[in-house]
Amino acid sequence: MIRLRRAFLIEFENVFKAFGEKRVLNGLTLKIDKGERFFVLGKSGTGKSVLLKHLVGILKADQGTIRLDGEEIQNLKENEFNRIRKKCSIVFQLPALLDSLNLFENLCFGIKALSSDEKIKRVTSSLNAVDLSHLASDLFTKTPPELSYGEQKRMALARVLALDPDYILYDEPTTGLDPVTSRNIHKLILDVSQKLGKTSIVVSHDMPNALKTASRIALMDAGQVVFEGTPKEILECQHPLAISFMKGVKKHHD
């Protein structure tokens, strides 16, 4: 009898990565399925952002296998990675918009090859998706520094949405934001995932919002996943890291 192995869309299999003497990923194994809102939580320096950077080819694994849509990507060359980056795009911790370009040029940066009509269509729909349609009339006159920090974060997400990727990676999307804007960003992640059907991988420290937004959560420590489950499962988890992340959260969540 042939047993069919379940095909996950993103797979990390025993991945190792070190920077000099410091080992950051230490046999990381992780599987993420289509349409998930997968949150990766953990203390600083446990390799969460490093994990995301492997998926877009900014970093290369020392050892192990990384698959995206069944294709092994850890050994792809820089020019071959552009194909992967079209379907798997990252929103950085900082907005990382180009200050020298106006808003429209920023939004079209990754879609230069498209026709003008298609660009305008993509820009309009991505602005609507991130609730920045009020900036439509300022697209050619304003530059990123003229926006608030929260608007810049949304604009960075709109730039990624304009690419129409299948996967969106968020690297600590709410760092440096006030609680209200943080909630709005998480609502946005939820909307983008539900309305546009995008698979989201979110690296975060924000447990309360992760419990509300995530479909699955992984806890990372010392370059490994130490617990993985649904928000409900994590509330009942007895792992010390889960307990320390949960302090003050359970009561609020109930």
Partner: protein, 253 residues
């Protein structure tokens, strides 16, 4: 020692990577023109100021020496030749390293620490093609243009100083220039402008692109750009002057 050699090798590799990038990766003409306007056009007032005073200072120094020998009449030729061949390119290049080089290095470095360069990569655009090569070629070309403008202006500055300090009229000053400032001098000045420009372009782009460690890293990149540019310019000036002396001027050219 090994680390220094590694660093030098990294610089040489990066220099050639940028230099051949228009053939291997394509070229962003619009970005290049934008950078050229930013670096060349906006530096003209500073270049004119530096050029006038470089010429004027040298003219005053030469005048004081020549007066003792009663040879003031050769001031125009001597000053122009000295400015074109040696002092002018170096002083103006130093000024440009401080202005254009430091600005470019800080700009690229800030983009690096705020993830803008990684964002460019992740949007499927090659940062060497989009960001580095246009800046390298723009800084190199604008340095050549600005050095040429600065040197012409330095002749004017020398002429004015000679009139004010020594009462040498413009016609007398200009008439001696062709006897001393030969085509070889002009060729050497232009060659120096080209080499200094490329050195500055490379050093500021490399330091900016390799920035690490937050805002302190940007500070380090700017400092390294200034120091390395000045050392590289002085070294290149020495080598080129020595070589030219052997080729052009050893027989009284």
């Amino acid at each position: 020692m090994i680390k220094s050699m590694e660093h030098l090798g990294k610089h040489i590799f990066f220099f050639f990577e940028i230099l051949i990038s228009p053939y291997t990766r394509g070229f962003e003409g619009r970005e290049f023109l934008g950078q050229l306007s930013k670096t060349a056009w906006r530096s003209i007032p500073t270049t004119i100021t530096a050029g006038i005073f470089t010429g004027a200072i040298l003219a005053m120094q030469f005048y004081l020496q020549l007066r003792d020998f009663g040879a003031e009449n050769v001031l125009g030729g001597l000053n122009t030749s000295g400015t074109l061949r040696e002092v002018g390119p170096v002083l103006i290049a130093f000024m440009l390293a401080g202005k254009v080089g430091a600005f470019t290095s800080a700009e690229i470095g800030s983009m690096k620490i705020t993830d803008q360069i990684e964002a460019i990569r992740c949007l499927g655009v090659d940062p060497i093609r989009y960001l580095i090569a246009p800046r390298f070629f723009a800084v190199s070309l604008s340095s050549i243009l600005l050095l040429s403008v600065g040197l012409i202006i330095s002749v004017v500055g020398g002429m004015i100083a000679a009139y004010l300090v020594g009462g040498i009229n413009f016609q007398q000053y200009l008439s001696m220039i062709p006897r001393f400032a030969t085509s070889q001098s002009i060729f050497l000045a232009t060659s120096k402008a080209l080499v200094f420009g490329m050195l500055m372009g490379h050093i500021c782009c490399a330091n900016g692109y390799w920035t690490e460690g937050g805002t302190q890293g940007v500070g380090r990149a700017v400092k390294n750009t200034s120091v390395q540019s000045m050392v590289a310019i002085v070294l290149a000036d020495f080598i080129m002057s020595w070589t030219a002396e052997g080729i052009f001027f050893s027989h009284g050219g």
